[in-house]
């Protein structure tokens, strides 16, 4: 996969995981029911949105074609 697409996928995955962790921590830690309600709603929405955006970038046809070529063919020798 192209390094730019790879970096975009990695950043979106980390962002989504951080949002999900913050939302779940707020659900487990906050005191009142209304406080617990407002924590994970926005956080899980953004977390799942980031993870789905990462999967959309990961499964684009360009990235898949480059990945298949790189996984099948041996590394290309430099021409002398």
């Amino acid at each position: 996969m192209h390094p730019v697409l790879d970096a975009i996928v990695a950043i979106l995955l980390i962002l989504g995981a951080a949002f999900a962790l913050v939302g779940s921590y707020g659900l487990a830690k906050l005191g009142d029911f209304a406080k617990r309600l407002h924590g994970p709603t926005k956080a899980t929405t953004l977390g799942v949105g980031s993870v789905l955006a990462a999967s959309a970038v990961f499964f684009t046809p360009i990235a898949r074609i480059e990945r298949d070529i790189c996984s099948v063919r041996p590394p290309r020798r430099p021409r002398s």
Partner: protein
């Protein structure tokens, strides 16, 4: 390569958030807390399934995520209806 490095960490973080959701699901004082914890739990499980699909580089996991989203939403609606009216079918 960066994605392959990041993916186990992301799966571990989602596992921690699933454990926190299970804590609130078991501990929750009222029924509304448990419904909210179950809603957050299925959303995090959906994200975990998507990350697993990226990990194995297979697009077959999107159907699983779609079914989890569908049944999870339906279950949340039914539980909210049960909490309000004390019966599911009119």
């Amino acid at each position: 390569m960066l994605t392959q490095t990041v993916l186990p960490i992301v799966l571990a973080v989602f596992g921690v958030s699933l454990a926190l959701n299970m804590y609130r699901l078991i501990r929750g004082p009222s029924l509304a807390d448990r419904i909210l914890a179950l809603d957050t739990l299925y959303i995090n499980a959906l994200a975990t399934v998507i990350v697993t699909g990226i990990y194995f580089a297979s697009a077959d996991y999107f159907e699983v995520a779609l079914l989890i989203a569908l049944f999870g939403f339906f279950g949340t609606v039914v539980l909210a209806r049960f909490a309000l009216r004390n019966r599911i079918v009119e």
